[in-house]
Symmetry: C2
Subunit: 299 residues, 2 copies
C-alpha cells in the first residue's frame, strides 16, 4: 500500500469501486453542508446503491435520531433508505448501555434525540428537566439533591448546558460505580457564518472531565465503537468496506482505528488538500476527491 | 540546598524566620477551611506581623474583591490588615488589563467581584446580564448579537455559566485582536461535603479553550503573575520572601515559578504528607508542617 493519498483516475476508481461492497458515509461536509446538499452527492449515493452496494451513514451528530436522519436523507432524494442504515451517536450510546446490561439510571447532559434513544430501550434517565432553578451561591451545598439510583453520566451536545449541570454530573462521577460515556468529543459544530463559533459536545465533556479528573468512554468517531456495532448487526467485512469523510482527525482516523484500509477524503467539507501535508499516516486517506459529485464522471 | 522537604525543628524554624522579611499566605486550607478558621492560623499570622514581617494573602479565588477578603481576615481576628495586603485574581486580572493599556470592552464570563474590580478601573464590560434569553436551536445563528467593541474575553468562576456564554466567548475569540485572559484554572472548589464536586474556573475555561483551540493567559497560581504585580507595587526581595500554601501544584509551584526558594507546605488543606513522594522537585517545598498553628510552639 502506498501511503501517499492519490487522486482517482478512471481506472483506479473502477478498481476501487469493484473492490468495495460497503460504503460508509459521513454526512456533514460529504452529503450536505447543512441545510444545502453538496451538488452530486445524492446522485452518487443512489448510483452506488443501484449497483447493489450497501450504504451506511456514520455521524457524530447526537441531536438527531436515526429516524430523523433517514427522513432527511430521503428528503434530499436518497432512495431506499431506512433507519437501519444510520449510525448516529445518540443511538449507539443507548445501544452500548444496553449491551453492558446497564440497569441503573442515567444522568443525561444532552438533548431530546438522546432522550428518545434512551426511552426506546427503556433506559431510565434524568437531567434535562430537573433542578433547573438551583443556582450555586457558594454555600447552598445542602440544596443539591443527588439521585441515589444514578449509575451513569452520559454527555452529548446540550444547548441548555449550565454550571448547575456541571455540578450534578461531576458529583455523580465521584461515585465509584458510576460509568461515564459521551457521544462525541468534537470541538465545534460546522456553522455557515464565519464570525460565529458554536461548541459541540467536546467542550461540554472537557469541562466535566476537568472537574472530575475522569475520562469518558467516547462513542463517536474517530473511535471504532460505531464500526463494531455495525459489524455486530450487519456482519460487514472491513476489507470490502470504504469510509468516505471530510475530516482527517475523525473520519479518516476512524477508518484506520476500525481496520478499514479503503478510505476517501472529500474536499467538500472542512479539509483542504494542503491539510494532508505532514500528517500522521493514520490520518491519511487512500484516495481523495473534490466531492462525491466530482466522482460521477467515473461511474 | 537540600531537595528533600524537611519538617521544622526549633532551630531550623528560628533560622528560617530570621531569614524572611515577607510572608505570602494562601488562604483556603492554610488560614481557613471555609467557613472555619484552621486553629492557630490567625495567631501565627498576628505573631509574625508583630515581629515586623510583611504579610500578604495570595489567592486564586476570583469571587471576592480585595475589600471582602481583608474584611474576612479581619473578622477572623487578623490585625492591621487592609486590601493592600491582598492579591486576588479578580483584582490582578483588572490590573493586568490596565497595565496593557487595554481600552476596548471585555466580554466577561465571571462573577460580581470581577465586575467590581473592572468597574473600579473604568474598564467596560458586558456578558453577565446580556442575551440571557437566547437559546441556540441549531438554526438561529442570526439572533446572536456580537458587540463590535469587544476586544477581550475574561474568564473566572461563573455560577451562571451557560452554553449561550460558551457561544459568545468563543465567537469573540475568532477575532484576531481579541485577547483571552483567565483568573485561574483550578479544577474544583474545596467543598465541605465529600459526595459533591463544584467546578472552579478551570472547567469553564477548558470548555472555551476546547471550542476555540486558543489558550488563555492565566493570572492565578502556579503562574508567577501575582508575584510580579506584588514586586511592582511593594518592591519585595524574593530571597527574603516565604510562600506558605497547602497545594503542591499551585502554591509550591508558584513559589518555584516566582523564584521564591523558601516555601512551606502545610498539611491542613488538600495535601497529605505522602503526596510529596515522587513529585517533580519544582513542586516540593523547602519545609512542611501540620498547620500554621503547629508552628506556634517554635515562636
Amino acid at each position: 500500500m502506498n501511503n501517499v493519498p492519490q487522486a482517482f483516475s478512471e481506472q483506479t476508481f473502477q478498481n476501487f469501486l469493484n473492490s468495495c461492497e460497503n460504503f460508509l458515509f459521513d454526512c456533514d461536509g460529504v452529503v450536505w453542508n447543512w441545510p444545502s446538499e453538496i451538488p452530486g452527492s445524492v446522485e452518487f449515493i443512489n448510483r452506488v446503491k443501484q449497483m447493489g452496494k450497501k450504504c451506511f451513514f456514520v455521524t457524530n451528530n447526537s441531536t438527531r435520531t436515526r429516524e430523523t436522519f433517514s427522513q432527511q436523507l430521503k428528503d434530499f432524494g436518497v432512495k431506499d433508505i431506512t433507519k437501519d442504515e444510520i449510525l448516529s451517536t445518540a443511538w449507539v450510546l443507548a445501544e452500548y448501555l444496553k449491551s453492558q446490561n446497564f440497569n441503573g439510571k442515567v444522568y443525561l447532559v444532552g438533548n431530546p434525540a438522546m432522550v428518545q434513544e434512551l426511552d426506546r430501550l427503556n433506559i431510565k434517565h434524568n437531567g434535562l428537566e430537573e433542578h433547573k432553578d438551583y443556582v450555586f451561591n457558594s454555600t447552598n451545598y445542602n440544596e443539591i439533591e443527588l439521585d441515589p439510583t444514578i449509575k451513569c453520566v452520559s454527555v452529548g451536545i446540550d444547548y441548555e448546558f449550565t454550571f448547575q449541570k456541571m455540578i450534578y454530573a461531576s458529583s455523580y462521577l465521584k461515585r465509584n460505580d458510576c460509568i461515564f460515556v459521551a457521544t462525541n468529543d468534537d470541538s465545534s459544530l460546522p456553522v455557515p457564518i464565519p464570525n460565529i463559533a458554536i461548541p459541540d459536545a467536546g467542550p461540554i465533556l472537557s469541562s466535566i472531565e476537568k472537574t472530575t479528573g475522569k475520562k469518558a468512554l467516547v462513542i463517536g468517531k474517530p473511535r471504532s465503537t460505531m464500526w463494531e456495532i455495525l459489524c455486530k448487526v450487519h456482519g460487514l467485512d472491513a476489507t470490502k468496506t470504504c469510509m468516505i469523510g471530510d475530516r482527517l482527525d475523525t473520519d479518516i482516523l476512524f477508518a484506520f482505528n476500525a481496520g478499514i484500509e479503503k478510505s476517501v477524503l472529500v474536499l467538500s467539507g472542512i479539509t483542504k488538500e494542503s491539510d494532508m501535508q505532514n500528517q500522521d499516516r493514520k490520518k491519511l486517506p487512500m484516495f481523495y476527491a473534490d466531492s462525491l459529485g466530482d466522482l460521477l464522471k467515473f461511474i
